[in-house]
């Protein structure tokens, strides 16, 4: 449950930006012949509603109705006492607090014929049942592809929020000392730093011994760290999420290899800003090729995440499951890379804004 700083600052997320997003979405709805669009939100799937309104629920679920024209309406199971709090975090003129958001939305849909739903299959059965009980004749259609197309372009306001989230992640990971020996305390230190700087959420994961196991896990309590380890900080700021991963080593060979990879990462990411949209995902490996030549390293895997629906970040391509086409210009990605550099395992992740 969210317990970091939550609040709407119009200087960061102007109404004009939200209006422009709504306008683009409603134009797409008109093209698809939707009389309304439904966006579900909860703690784990907050991204679509947050993108449109700024609202992220810290608890319980809600459903946003976007009409063909005019302002959206939020039906939420959060109690009436929380409505004022919601307004401090989002641009929402109409909030209906009800134990049955599905019923409230169904009643409002009277007169609609065709309604789009983001991720229709995943709509919780309770909400769906309540909604169709009062609006049985409505045709529901999946609107995920339409939403993803509208949402993929990162505007200036979102770009700045992502940059802020990234700055928090970078600063939090800068707290890590390679000499650390206790993973639980280290996770606490990184998380604390991010939260003190205003992070809405901070998930810290650690690969305890890179030589043995490169999987990153959530750690709490005293757990020993090996001489080579990695830390991933998944940080949210006002609904914008990034991941950063850094690797650390206490031994000279490991430290040297990791420093080289870390120095290379920004260059590779910079190159990918242009290469990915024009030449596709095969350029990910190519962008690390120069590093490979220099250091006898080997690409073990990579993963690209973006925000295309209700998840803040989800995998859109990875090695080896990527298609030929790259992401659209103007998209934001988090790229996670796994290399072996002179046999030293290295994990890194950073955001990439693709030139639009």
């Amino acid at each position: 449950m969210r317990r970091g700083l939550m609040g709407w600052d119009e200087a960061e997320l102007p109404r004009s930006a939200l209006s422009a997003r709504l306008e683009r979405l409603q134009a797409a709805m008109a093209r698809e012949g939707f009389d309304a669009l439904l966006l579900y939100t909860n703690l784990v799937r907050p991204a679509a509603v947050c993108w449109l309104t700024g609202f992220t629920p810290y608890w319980i679920e809600s459903l946003l109705l976007v009409p063909a024209s005019g302002a959206p309406m939020l039906a939420t199971a959060l109690s009436k006492r929380v409505a004022d709090w919601i307004r401090t975090t989002a641009w929402l003129d109409e909030i209906v607090n009800t134990p049955k958001p599905g019923t409230a939305i169904g009643q409002r849909l009277a007169g609609c014929k065709r309604v789009g739903v983001l991720e229709l299959d995943a709509l919780p059965a309770g909400l769906y049942d309540d909604m169709v009980a009062v609006a049985p004749k409505i045709e529901l259609a999946d609107a995920s592809a339409m939403f993803a197309a509208v949402r993929s372009h990162v505007d200036d306001a979102e770009l700045k929020l992502i940059e802020k989230a990234d700055a928090l992640a970078v600063a939090a990971l800068a707290q890590v000392d390679a000499s650390a020996t206790d993973a639980g305390s280290l996770a606490g230190l990184v998380e604390k730093h991010a939260r003190l700087a205003g992070a809405e959420e901070a998930y810290i994961a650690i690969a305890l011994d890179l030589d043995l196991d490169r999987r990153l896990i959530q750690v709490s309590g005293p757990v020993p760290l090996a001489r080579r380890f990695a830390v991933r900080a998944s940080i949210a700021y006002k609904g914008a999420w990034v991941r950063r991963t850094r690797s650390f080593a206490r031994d000279p060979q490991g430290a040297r290899a990791m420093a080289s990879a870390e120095a290379w990462l920004p260059q590779a990411m910079h190159a990918l800003r242009e290469l990915l949209p024009s030449r596709g995902y095969s350029t990910v490996a190519a962008s690390f090729a120069l590093l490979r030549a220099e250091l006898h390293s080997q690409m073990r895997g990579w993963m690209a995440e973006s925000c295309v629906g209700s998840y803040p970040l989800e995998v859109i391509a990875s090695l080896p499951m990527h298609g030929k086409e790259g992401p659209a210009p103007g998209t934001f990605l988090v790229l996670s890379v796994e290399l072996a550099i002179d046999d030293v395992p290295w994990l890194g992740a950073a955001p990439v804004f693709l030139r639009g």
């Binding site: 449950m1 700083l5 996770a187």
Partner: protein, 365 residues
């Protein structure tokens, strides 16, 4: 091992109820049903699990990050990465067409799967799992006691962190660091800062503490999957007479509620005992949903599990349940105030497991 105890109990209950297989959904918000069945707590993405009567468990996760974690945290179950989670589980269910399949929690099962209820012989077994979730095994209660101890320790950190000029989110940052270092992987916490204008608690909004503010918090660490909660109020500087008077009423109400807890009473009995104190002081209005949500609730693998302690909830309270009694509500003069302790229901009463003094704390200015 709690997980082994739970699994044995679950399989026995499934056999007794004639359920061949369970389909269980979970995410980071509502993860108790999933944790009971798989011992996995989801953090990102969504999860579905199939639990067979022979004890085989398949956990489907749509996030590859979560797959890594589940493989390490839950080595005894089959973990599958399912990028198209719902479609993949839909396909898997086709293989079990002739079985009696139960699902939980019914309201959160994805629509596409729920729509196949008749076709798949799928029945909502939320109440079946709710009974298991509410009535704790000894090992579950032991985990909850550990969480309660850390709730006390966490509140001490909170008090240390509270001082004039600090922002509400900075207090929570201190607690989270303490919890990560001490074995708490998750904490539910909301906070209120201010005076009569504060009508409830919410996530931090950036308010900075100033002299005279009341700082309310509900702090809920999780240990081995189990949550314990503590609610306390502190004042920045010396509490004034109205704040002290209000706190005395809250204390009387909470103690009245705790006093009636024992095997065989109902949730309504506890709520009524709490609310009668407010009514006796002419503040009965502040026990309604206009000002407060619940007068306590169950604790366990979910922060806010059943039963809710309300005067219209007639759920029987049994020995082995774990609850928090908290008469948290708004006071017209001083604002929103909280006080609550976690407890284990016993045959002849209850054992309160949080030990922080029931004071209106003050922090020096």
């Amino acid at each position: 091992m709690i997980d082994d105890d739970r699994k044995q109990r679950l399989l026995a209950a499934m056999a007794e109820a004639g359920i061949d297989m369970l389909l269980v959904y979970g995410n980071a918000w509502q993860g108790d049903y999933l944790r009971y069945a798989t011992d996995f707590s989801a953090l990102e993405g969504q999860a579905l699990a199939l639990v067979r009567g022979d004890g085989h468990v398949t956990l489907y996760l749509d996030s590859p990050l979560e797959v890594d974690r589940a493989e390490i945290d839950c080595p005894d179950i089959e973990v599958l990465h399912a990028p198209n989670l719902i479609a993949e589980v839909d396909g898997a269910l086709d293989r079990f067409r002739n079985q009696r399949i139960g699902s939980a929690p019914g309201r959160l099962i994805p629509r596409r799967l729920a729509a196949r209820a008749k076709d798949l012989n799928l029945s909502d077994q939320t109440a079946f799992l709710d009974r298991l979730l509410m009535h704790k095994l000894d090992s579950e209660i032991a985990a909850m006691r550990c969480a309660a101890k850390l709730a006390d320790d966490g509140y001490a950190v909170f008090r240390q962190a509270a001082r004039v000029g600090r922002a509400d989110y900075e207090l929570i940052a201190e607690i989270e660091a303490f919890f990560r270092a001490h074995g708490v992987d998750h904490n539910f916490q909301i906070i209120g800062v201010g005076g009569p204008e504060v009508r409830g608690m919410a996530p931090p909004s950036g308010k900075r503490l100033k002299r005279g503010d009341m700082v309310t918090t509900e702090l809920t660490p999780r240990v081995d999957g189990y949550y314990a909660q503590i609610c306390r109020t502190l004042v920045v500087g010396e509490p004034n007479g109205e704040q002290r008077k209000a706190h005395a009423l809250w204390l009387e109400s909470m103690e009245a509620g705790i006093a009636v807890v024992r095997d065989g009473v109902t949730a309504a009995d506890i709520a009524r005992a709490e609310n009668d104190v407010f009514r006796a002081h002419g503040l009965g209005e502040y026990t309604t949903s206009e000002y407060t949500r619940v007068r306590g609730h169950g604790l366990g693998l979910f922060v806010d599990t059943k039963p809710h302690i309300l005067e219209d909830v007639n759920t029987r309270i049994d020995a082995g349940m774990t609850l928090i009694v908290h008469p948290n509500t708004y006071h017209p003069v001083v604002g929103y105030m909280v006080l609550g302790d976690s407890l284990v229901v016993m045959r002849d009463g209850c054992e309160v497991v949080t030990a922080t003094p029931r004071e209106l704390f003050s922090v020096p200015v």
